[in-house]
Assembly symmetry: C2
Homo-oligomer: 104 residues x 2
Amino acid sequence: MGQAAAQTGWSARMLRYLETNGLVVPRRADSGYRLYAERELGQLRTLRDLRERFGVELDELAFANRLRREPELKAAVETWLAASGPAADWVDWEQRKHERLLVA
Amino acid sequence: MGQAAAQTGWSARMLRYLETNGLVVPRRADSGYRLYAERELGQLRTLRDLRERFGVELDELAFANRLRREPELKAAVETWLAASGPAADWVDWEQRKHERLLVA
DNA sequence: CGAACCTTGCCATGGATGTGGTAAGGTTCC
DNA sequence: GGAACCTTACCACATCCATGGCAAGGTTCG
């Protein structure tokens, strides 16, 4: 039941959203009701953590996944990171993101 | 001059945008004009490539950077990826992204 | 001087994301 | 049967990103 799932800190609405994006996909009862087992509950908590503590967005997770399975991409990104400066500038980007989150 | 830089496929507008985000930061002449050296031109081409071939967005690059310098984050993400299913669902996400790009 | 660049703003847009709401309708269980 | 759940399918919204455009003003150079 989504109600027990909502006890992980997500709204029922969000659970459906996460499912449509393939992030946390629960089994279904014959009636169509979603059944969240421990596995999914764990995923939900992990995901919540990732967002709260690091401000990770869904597309960023998808990207992390790509990095693992697309060596070409990974290489290109590494090249880029190596070539770009002292990375001090990146802090700005991250800081702004964190500020946004702190407001919320 | 931005004109030579625009020959890397970016509009002058975008060059300023990239600069404000710390992605490609050219030196400045005394007059304030931007001076793109080979270094920056290379970065611009690499960046262009990343976007064309892989649809990488700027925030995703920032994220890749974070992964390298925040071990905690990296660990959390790894945990997540390991715990989430066969990753077949992620394909959807990526496919949609690719579709978007192909249209453009 | 004047043309052709450049500079920094600021406003505007299209599309995506993350959320919430609501409506119309099944399921569970007392 | 009726309350309290659940389901899908929309509509809506604020925010952000990536771009473009325009205005007002410096710089370079013939």
